[in-house]
Structure formats: structure tokens, C-alpha cells
């Protein structure tokens, strides 16, 4: 049997465990609630300059930066450290599956959970908006783009979560590190950049370095790519203003996300090879 069969076996077990632990329903429920809320609060009953889905895409892009990494880290931090702690990993690692295939399988299973949660929440909220306000083709494209890049963002944080999980001797420690990573990546990093801009007063940092620093953060990269795609159709504020003045193509933001995914998986791979279950 090829390694793909084994990867598929690990992925399907990982998915099933997430399903039975209610992670899938929880993730889908939370994301559906938030996307419905943002979609309809954006509409506000006024006559709209942009389509309802375009506005929804803009506010969802901002919210997803927090929510998707959080869910991705929550479903992945325990995946390896917890199995080592509970003793289920020793059995798996004694079988002829390569460590790389094991990591890949776990990542795929968890990404599948995110894929369903993202697809279901966006489908439900968009369908409700179209039903209430009518069709918005360009907005629909923005939502599809949001979903696909949101999945990529989720994959990045699943890979980071797995990397944390491999490196932690205990699941509790993995949880603490995961929360720390989430805080830094989604909140503290942006705050530090804002502080940099305020201190710098239109100097070299703001003009030359800032765009690169922003795109280096996976969450910001995701948001910038999506907001740039909306082409001023929706109001943006704060750090996101940069989306329209990037000195490079927004595709680089997407490339940055892929780079994070590859880097986190590679780091996880080298660590799982040294893991003693």
C-alpha cells in the first residue's frame, strides 16, 4: 500500500475524533453565528453603496483573522502531545508508518474539519443574505476568495498548532503555548506595528519596511489579500489602509501564507522525527 493510504487512514481517524469530540459542530456553529451576525449588521437596512456580500466579505476578513487561527490552534494543540500523554502514540509509532506521513495525515484531517466549518458558515450566511437582499455576483466571488484563503490561513495555524504539539512534552503546556502564539500573532504583533508607526512619524519604517512587516504576519497577509481584492468597494480603516497602497502585488501576501505553511510543516516534521512516544 502506498504512503497515501496510510496518510488517508490517519487523516480519517483524526477527522472522526474531532467530529466525536464535538469540535466540528462547535467550530461550524461559532463561525456560522459570527458570519450571519456580520453579514446582517453590515447591511443595516440602508441603501448600500456596495453589494451586501462585498460588505460582508470585508468585515468577515477582519473577524476571520482572529477566529480561524483560534479554532485551528484549538483543534490541533492536543493532537500529538495529548496522544503521547495518553499513551496512544506509542502504538501508532510502532507501526510501519513514517513520521512524515503521520504528521501529514493529522494535518489533513484537521484541515478537513476547518474546511467544513468555513464552507458551511459562509454558505449559510451568504445564502441568507442573497435570500434577503438579492444576488451580488462580485460579492459572491469575494466570499469564495475569502473562504479559500481562510482555509489556507487555517492550514497555516493547524501546522503551527501541530508543531507546538510535537514540541511540547505535555498537552497542558501545548495549550499554553498555543494561546500565547494566538495572542502574539493576532493582537500583539499588530499593536507593535502601530506603535512603530506612531513613533516613526512617516519615516523609513512606515514607508519602506512596514508593508513587509505586515505581510509577514499570516493573519495580516490574509486580510490584506482579501481587502485588496475588494478594490475600495468597502470601507477600510487602521492597518488595513495599507491594502490599497501596497508597494507589491497582493499575490505576495498569498505567497507569504504558503511560505508559513511550508515552514511550519517542515519544522514539525523535523521535530516529530525526534519524538519519543
Amino acid at each position: 500500500m502506498s504512503p497515501f493510504t496510510k496518510i488517508a487512514a490517519v487523516a480519517s481517524i483524526e477527522f472522526r475524533v474531532a467530529l466525536r469530540n464535538r469540535w466540528l459542530i462547535l467550530a461550524t456553529g461559532v463561525m456560522t453565528l459570527f458570519s450571519l451576525a456580520l453579514t446582517f449588521s453590515g447591511a443595516g437596512g440602508l441603501e448600500l453603496k456596495a453589494g451586501i456580500l462585498t460588505l460582508a466579505a470585508a468585515s468577515l476578513a477582519t473577524l476571520s483573522v482572529y477566529l480561524i487561527p483560534l479554532i485551528a490552534l484549538l483543534i490541533s494543540y492536543d493532537s500529538i502531545a495529548g496522544e503521547v500523554e495518553r499513551g496512544t502514540m506509542a502504538l501508532v509509532m510502532a507501526t510501519p508508518i513514517s513520521r512524515g506521513a503521520l504528521l501529514a495525515g493529522k494535518a489533513l484531517g484537521l484541515i478537513a474539519v476547518l474546511a467544513i466549518a468555513i464552507a458551511a458558515s459562509l454558505t449559510i450566511s451568504s445564502a441568507a443574505a442573497i435570500f434577503a437582499y438579492g444576488m451580488d455576483m462580485s460579492g459572491l466571488a469575494a466570499i469564495v476568495r475569502l473562504g479559500l484563503t481562510g482555509l489556507l490561513l487555517g492550514a497555516v495555524f493547524v501546522a503551527i498548532g501541530l508543531m507546538i504539539s510535537v514540541a511540547s512534552p505535555r498537552a497542558g503546556q501545548a495549550a499554553a503555548v498555543a494561546i500565547g502564539v494566538w495572542l502574539v500573532a493576532t493582537v500583539l504583533y499588530d499593536l507593535a506595528l502601530l506603535a512603530g508607526i506612531l513613533a516613526d512619524k512617516e519615516g523609513v519604517f512606515t514607508k519602506a519596511l512596514f508593508p513587509y512587516f505586515v505581510t509577514a504576519n499570516p493573519g495580516d497577509a490574509f486580510r490584506i489579500f482579501n481587502l485588496a481584492g475588494l478594490e475600495n468597494a468597502a470601507p477600510v480603516s487602521g492597518l488595513d489602509g495599507i491594502a490599497n497602497t501596497l508597494p507589491f502585488s497582493p499575490l505576495y501576501a498569498l505567497a507569504g501564507l504558503f511560505a508559513w505553511l511550508v515552514a511550519a510543516l517542515t519544522a514539525g516534521y523535523f521535530q516529530i522525527r525526534r519524538l519519543t512516544p
Partner: protein
């Protein structure tokens, strides 16, 4: 272990040493296991049994010595294809059913799940296959662990305390299964705390004490080599106990009894001298050293070695 068969061992352990910080968990351990052989690894808590298993699986890298599994390094792909493992604390994802677990491990071992699922019947879990492992009793988890270890007819079974948590009937069934797989050519290395438990089921035992191998051989050979004294308890007739004690030595116990001990070789001689005095003796009881005595004897060897 049939002498003279030039069968290449499936497992070779040669001078293995493992150190945790300043604790020598294993020191210079060497033995081989041949296909079809059943070897029990005995030792107190902390003797190093599980540590040795982890070395054979490639989870731990010994600081000294060499292990080969089916001619390959532990943990290599080929070695892992030849070995099955049942850990000391067997655990499975609680949310999965027995059938899902067996299907999962069959796929990991590149075995068609349809061939592996009948193993649930073999270990007596046919009824429980659709229930979640989280609801299994300890013994049921142990049985599922055994079924998992049997998937794909491995050449070497590493079973770390496989019978802990099993009731006496299940234990017998367990050893019957082990007998069958050994007859089909698999080597079985299992660990246990009690010699009395493995007696009658296992060809050969190896005893670990404080990380050192202190005995390796058939139970009968080891028992003879230990030359443990035989205890003879004489129940004297009224008023004869002191006279018997004075004549044969030994110690007076509970009123009318005298306890003697002698080397195995001197047994016949002592008994015939006793029968000369049969008018003073009510009853004789001969106690051979128990399996636990033999086990204790070898386990304590290493401690004596430490003191020296």
C-alpha cells in the same frame, strides 16, 4: 529453544546499555530470541523491562551495545514491519470503536482490514466491536491491544505485561493465543512480574534486576542451577520434638514441629535418616523451592553484586 538449530534470531540484543541522567536503566544486556520461541522477561518494578522494549522499538537509542530486529536497526521500516507492540498501559482514542481501531491499525500496517477484523473474534471482542473503546473495561482494552498486535502476522511480538488486568480465564485464553502464534513461527517476548504466572506457558525466561540480566534459560535449568535448599518440616510425636531437633538440627516451630533445610542433593539421604526414627515422627512435609523463591534468588543476585 531447541539446541543446534541454526535458525537466525529474529531479535538480537548485544551488550545494550541505557542511562537516564545518572540512572543506569540497562547495563550490558545481551540475549537473542529465535523465531517460534517464547521468552518471558521478568523483573521487579523499575528493573528495565519497558526500557528494553522501547529500545527494541527504536523509541530509545541505547548508549551502548547493538540491537537488530529481523537483521535491521530498531525503528527502521523493515524492523517495524516485523514487530508488533502491546504497551504496558495500552490506550486507544476513547471515542473510536473497536472495529475502527482494528481497521485503523490494519491500514497502518498495510493489511486489508477485512483480514484483520476476525481478530476481534479471536480475542473475544466480537460483541463489543461496535462500542466505544472509552467504555471498555481494562481487560477488554488489553484484549483489543492484543488483537491489534496480531494484525498482519508479525515475526516478533513485544508484549509489555500483556496479562496485567486479565482475569484467570482470560489469562489462559491469552496464553493459548500466544502458543498458537508461536507455533506458526512468530517469536514472542513478553514481560511479567511473576514467574509463577508464566510457568507452563513459556519456554524460556530471562530475569532483569536493576538493569542487569541475571538469568537466562529454561525454568527447570535455572531452578537446578540456583540449588535452593529444600525445606522439610517434621511433626514430632508427643514430647519428641526436642530430641529430633538435637539430632537433626533445624528450628523448632509451633510446638511439635521442627523445620530442616537441605541441599537438593542431600534430600534422599536426609529423608532416609529421618525414616530410621519414624517412631518419633508423626508426619513429614517436603517443600520444594517455589517459583517465587527461584525468582527472588536471581533477582537478589544483582543486589549482592552491588554490595560486593
Amino acid at each position: 529453544m531447541t539446541a543446534g538449530t541454526a535458525q537466525t534470531p529474529i531479535l538480537k540484543i548485544d551488550g545494550v546499555g541505557v542511562t537516564f541522567a545518572d540512572l543506569k536503566a540497562l547495563q550490558d544486556v545481551s540475549f537473542d530470541v529465535a523465531p517460534g520461541e517464547k521468552l518471558a522477561l521478568l523483573g521487579h518494578n523499575g528493573a528495565g523491562k519497558s526500557t528494553l522494549f522501547k529500545c527494541v522499538l527504536g523509541f530509545l537509542k541505547p548508549a551502548a551495545g547493538r540491537i537488530t530486529v529481523a537483521g535491521d536497526a530498531p525503528g527502521s521500516n523493515h524492523a517495524r514491519r516485523s514487530v508488533s507492540y502491546l504497551p504496558e498501559q495500552v490506550a486507544f482514542p476513547r471515542m473510536l470503536t473497536g472495529i475502527e481501531i482494528i481497521t485503523y491499525f490494519a491500514r497502518l500496517k498495510s493489511v486489508d482490514p477485512r483480514e484483520a477484523l476476525p481478530l476481534l473474534d479471536l480475542v473475544g471482542l466480537a460483541q463489543a466491536g461496535r462500542r466505544r473503546v472509552g467504555d471498555y473495561s481494562k481487560g477488554m482494552r488489553q484484549r483489543l491491544g492484543l488483537a491489534q498486535a496480531l494484525i498482519g502476522k508479525p515475526d516478533l511480538l513485544l508484549l509489555d505485561e500483556p496479562t496485567s488486568g486479565l482475569d484467570p480465564v482470560s489469562r489462559r485464553e491469552f496464553y493459548e493465543i500466544i502458543d498458537r502464534v508461536a507455533q506458526e513461527g512468530a517469536a514472542v517476548l513478553l514481560s511479567s512480574h511473576a514467574l509463577s504466572e508464566v510457568e507452563g506457558h513459556i519456554d524460556r525466561i530471562a530475569i532483569l534486576s536493576k538493569g542487569r540480566l541475571v538469568a537466562d534459560g529454561q525454568i527447570k535449568t535455572l531452578a537446578e542451577a540456583a540449588r535452593l535448599p529444600i525445606t522439610i518440616r517434621i511433626k514430632a510425636r508427643e514430647g519428641q520434638a526436642d530430641a529430633l531437633r538435637d539430632r537433626f538440627g533445624g528450628t523448632r516451630i509451633n510446638g511439635r514441629s521442627v523445620e530442616l533445610s537441605c541441599e537438593p542433593a542431600g534430600k534422599i539421604d536426609l529423608v532416609s535418616r529421618l525414616t530410621e526414627r519414624r517412631e518419633e515422627i508423626d508426619d513429614i512435609d517436603i517443600a520444594l523451592p517455589s517459583l517465587d523463591d527461584i525468582y527472588r534468588f536471581y533477582s537478589n543476585l544483582a543486589e549482592k553484586g552491588d554490595a560486593a
